[in-house]
Symmetry: C2
Subunit: 178 residues, 2 copies
C-alpha cells in the first residue's frame, strides 16, 4: 500500500529505482516527494510538503527539505530559483532546458533550448570567466492570463506576482508587444 507499483504514465521508471540508482536509501518520504514532484513539477518545498502529507502524514517539512537537498545533490532533481519566488524543484534534469514564468499567475513551464546544446549560452564577453553553466529565464503571460488580461483588469491574480518592470531583465524587441 505504500505504492511501489507505480506504473503510471510520466514516470517511465519506478520511483524507487531512480532513488536507488543514486546510492540513496529508499525511504517512504523520499518516494512520496519524488511522486509529488512527478505529479507537480516546478513545486516549492512547501507545496510538495502539502502533497506528501496527504499520503504520508507525520512527514516533517524539514524532511522534505532534506530529501530535496539529497535529490539535487544526487542529480535526480533540479532546483530553480526564479527571481521573486521561492525555490522550485523539478525532476527533469540533465537536458539543456530553461523556464518561462508567467508574471501574472506565476505558472512555470519548461522551454527547450532555442539553438540546441549551447545556444546563445556562450556569452559575448565572458571577461575571462570560465563559463560552465548557463541559465535562462523568460518572463511573460501564459495563454490563460493573456485572455483574461485582454478585456479584464491588468492586475495580477496573486497578490505580488513578480513585477517584471522592477526587476527589469533584458527587454526583448518590442515588436508585437503592446
Amino acid at each position: 500500500m505504500t505504492g511501489t507499483e507505480v506504473t503510471q504514465a510520466g514516470a517511465p521508471e519506478p520511483l524507487d529505482a531512480s532513488i536507488r540508482a543514486s546510492n540513496l536509501k529508499v525511504t517512504a518520504p523520499r518516494l512520496a516527494v519524488l511522486r509529488a514532484l512527478t505529479d507537480a513539477p516546478h513545486s516549492t518545498a512547501e507545496r510538495l510538503f502539502t502533497a506528501v502529507r496527504l499520503q504520508l502524514p507525520g512527514t516533517s517539512l524539514q524532511a522534505v527539505y532534506g530529501v530535496l537537498a539529497a535529490f539535487t545533490a544526487a542529480g535526480i532533481a533540479r532546483k530553480i530559483e526564479p527571481a521573486g519566488s521561492s525555490a522550485l524543484f523539478e525532476r527533469r534534469v540533465g537536458d539543456n532546458h530553461h523556464h518561462i514564468v508567467c508574471t501574472r499567475c506565476n505558472a512555470v513551464h519548461d522551454v527547450d533550448c532555442a539553438v540546441g546544446d549551447a545556444p546563445c549560452l556562450t556569452p559575448a564577453n565572458a571577461s575571462g570567466f570560465a563559463v560552465h553553466t548557463a541559465e535562462v529565464t523568460y518572463w511573460g503571460l501564459c495563454p490563460d492570463c493573456q485572455s483574461e488580461a485582454a478585456g479584464t483588469d491588468p492586475t495580477p491574480i496573486g497578490a505580488t506576482p513578480v513585477d517584471p518592470t522592477l526587476t527589469a531583465p533584458a527587454q526583448l524587441s518590442n515588436k508585437g508587444a503592446r
Copy 2:
C-alpha cells in the same frame, strides 16, 4: 560637502540629476545610495547600507531598501537575484545585458548580449506564452579563482558560494570541464 560635484569617471551625469529626472525627491540617503551603487555595482542592500553609513551615519537599513525600491520602480536601478544569493542592484539599466557569476567567490560581472537585441531570447517553444523579457545568468570561475583553483584547493572562498551542481542549470558542452 554632501558631494554634489561628483565629476568622477563612471558617473557621467551628476547623481542628483538622474534622481530628479525620475521625479523623485533628492535626499541625502538617495544620493549616498546612488553614489555607493556607482562605486560598487552588483551590491546587496546590506553592502550598500554599510557604504552609505560611512558617509551618512544615521541612515537606516530600511531607508536603503526604500531607496532601492524607489530607484528600481523609477527605472534608474535594476535588481537582480542570482540563485542562492540575495538581491543585487546595479545602475546599468535599459540595455540588454546579462550577468556572469563566479561560483567560487561570487563575483558578478556584466555580460553583453551575445547576439544583439534578442539573441537566443526567443524561446524554442514558448507554449503560448507572450514573452516580454528574458534573463540570462552564466555561472563559471572568474580569472582570479581560475588561477587559485588550478593548484590550490577546489573549495570556495566564502563558506557557501552557490554550488552550481546543486542548482544545475543547463550544462554547456563539457569539453574542458574536469
